[in-house]
């Protein structure tokens, strides 16, 4: 499993484009927002947590079809399926690799981009915490969507439709943590909900993803 993880990471780094794409997209979204809503700093402060969360979510969505598509095309997914690894493990490793290559850079970059949106002082910490807790859930849910649409010719749009409703609770509670943190309110309730979603999803969804993948590989 560790070999698979390092292989996926190496592929992501060396294949080029894939690794930085999410980050670049995140940067574009955050830079474009002030142009769209106008440069009033207090307004930007108000919407910064939500915008940063949306940007992170869309950047995550952008790279989802990469999770299985390449392995599906060159047949290595079939080899992985016959390897002495449980499918659930493969799916989890894939989600982890996706998180390390897209989620983790987003988490690290978000506070920096917060400067561009004039994020309020205590917001940086809570934005970081909420993204660190929330993006793994996005990766795991996205893996389910990618597994559902892996065999389809044009699965990208369909995958977005399938994945977006599942993303909504993570987005709501993640952005709520960041917003309340930025405004200096108590963050405990949404933080607990966010943690609940992340851990629950990480515990349950790999089984669904693995089942779906097995059906698609049949």
């Amino acid at each position: 499993m560790i070999a698979l993880l390092t292989r996926d990471l190496r592929l992501a780094v060396r294949a080029g484009g894939g690794f930085g794409l999410g980050l670049a997209f995140f940067l574009i979204v955050t830079v474009l927002v002030p142009f769209a809503v106008g440069p009033q700093t207090d307004l930007l402060t108000q919407i910064a947590p939500g915008v940063l969360w949306i940007g992170a979510l869309l950047a995550c969505l952008l790279s989802l079809d990469r999770i299985f598509a390449l392995d599906w095309e060159d047949g290595s997914l079939d080899l992985l399926a016959t390897a002495p690894l449980p499918m659930e493990g493969i799916v989890t490793v894939k989600a982890l690799a996706h998180w390390i290559t897209t989620g983790l850079p987003l988490v690290l970059a978000a506070p920096l981009l917060g400067v561009l949106l004039n994020l309020a002082g205590p917001g940086y910490l809570w934005l970081f915490v909420s993204l660190a807790l929330g993006t793994p859930a996005l990766s795991v849910i996205g893996t389910f969507g990618a597994a559902l649409t892996v065999g389809l010719k044009r699965g990208g749009l369909l995958m977005s439709l399938l994945v977006l409703p599942l993303y909504v609770p993570t987005l709501i509670f993640g952005a709520e943590v960041a917003r309340r943190g930025a405004e200096g309110l108590a963050v405990q309730t949404p933080l607990l909900m966010l943690a609940g979603i992340s851990f629950g999803v990480a515990a349950l969804l790999p089984f669904a993803s693995a089942a779906v993948l097995r059906i698609n590989l049949r």
């Binding site: 559902l148 369909l158 439709l161 399938l162 977006l164 409703p165 599942l166 909504v168 669904a208 059906i215």
Partner: protein, 249 residues
């Protein structure tokens, strides 16, 4: 008489043919009685005026939106466990009906919300969960359409249905879960006050009885539509099989 007999599509079609006129007629009668009674022969609420009458569409539609997903969940489980083809097709047939019910619930809610709450839409947890359910219906139908192989499509949508049922359950109990937001709590059925005397907690019997009739009408309508659409699905699949066989020959 067990549902496994109806894994035979011929038998299913025959039984559905017998049932359909009766169920349809009963649905039409219940809907007509419930809606006409509700719209024309109930008093206007002293605070809400005539807008209260949208309850006869809104509540049953919302109820069926969730129950349709539950029916699809059960049908999907039957398909996963026993490879019961008719069951998978019934789940497929129910999805558009459920989506339309969700849409009716959302639209009637918006029409009622505009004069009552002063807004068409609020990002209230109960409303949001319902909207997510609608998106799930769309995704479910899109996935069925996107996959060519029928059995694979049935398998994949079944698992999607399992995952999505979290939201169906959530929207069922959302009215009771959250106290925040605009949508009021459940007032139609409450523990200990199902058909009992009028209380301040529960909707008045003047409104409850036509509402119950209308609700039964919606259930029957759903059953009739599912039977009809499942028949259509079976026949469409048979037609496709015949065409494929012709091409082979």
């Amino acid at each position: 008489m067990s549902i496994w007999e109806y894994a035979n599509p011929v038998k299913f079609i025959r039984t559905a043919d017998v049932l359909l006129p009766w169920v349809t007629a009963a649905a039409a009668i219940c809907l007509a009685v419930g809606l006409i009674w509700g719209f024309f022969f109930t008093p206007e609420d002293f605070r809400q005026g005539s807008t209260v009458k949208i309850i006869y569409l809104h509540v049953p539609a919302a109820m069926m939106a969730i129950n349709a997903w539950m029916m699809m969940l059960i049908a999907s489980l039957i398909w996963i466990v026993r490879r019961h083809h008719v069951s998978a097709l019934a789940a497929r047939a129910a999805a558009p009906i459920g989506a339309v019910m969700t849409l009716i619930g959302l639209v009637t809610g918006a029409i009622w919300g505009q004069p009552m709450w002063g807004t068409w839409w609020a990002w209230d947890p109960r409303l949001t969960v319902f909207l997510i359910l609608f998106l799930f219906y769309l995704g479910y139908m899109a996935l069925w359409e996107a996959i060519e192989d029928d059995d694979t499509a049935a398998d994949l949508t079944s698992i999607l249905c399992l995952v999505g049922s979290v939201f169906a359950v959530l929207s069922r109990y959302a009215v009771q879960f959250w106290n925040q937001g605009l949508h009021q709590g459940s007032s139609v059925l409450r523990a200990g006050a199902v058909t009992g005397a009028d209380t301040t907690e529960k909707v008045s019997n003047v409104y409850f009885i036509p509402l119950a009739v209308s609700g039964v009408g919606f259930v029957l309508l759903f059953v009739a539509l599912v039977l009809l659409r499942t028949q259509t699905e079976i026949r469409a699949r048979r037609a496709r099989a015949l065409l494929a066989r012709e091409r082979m020959a």
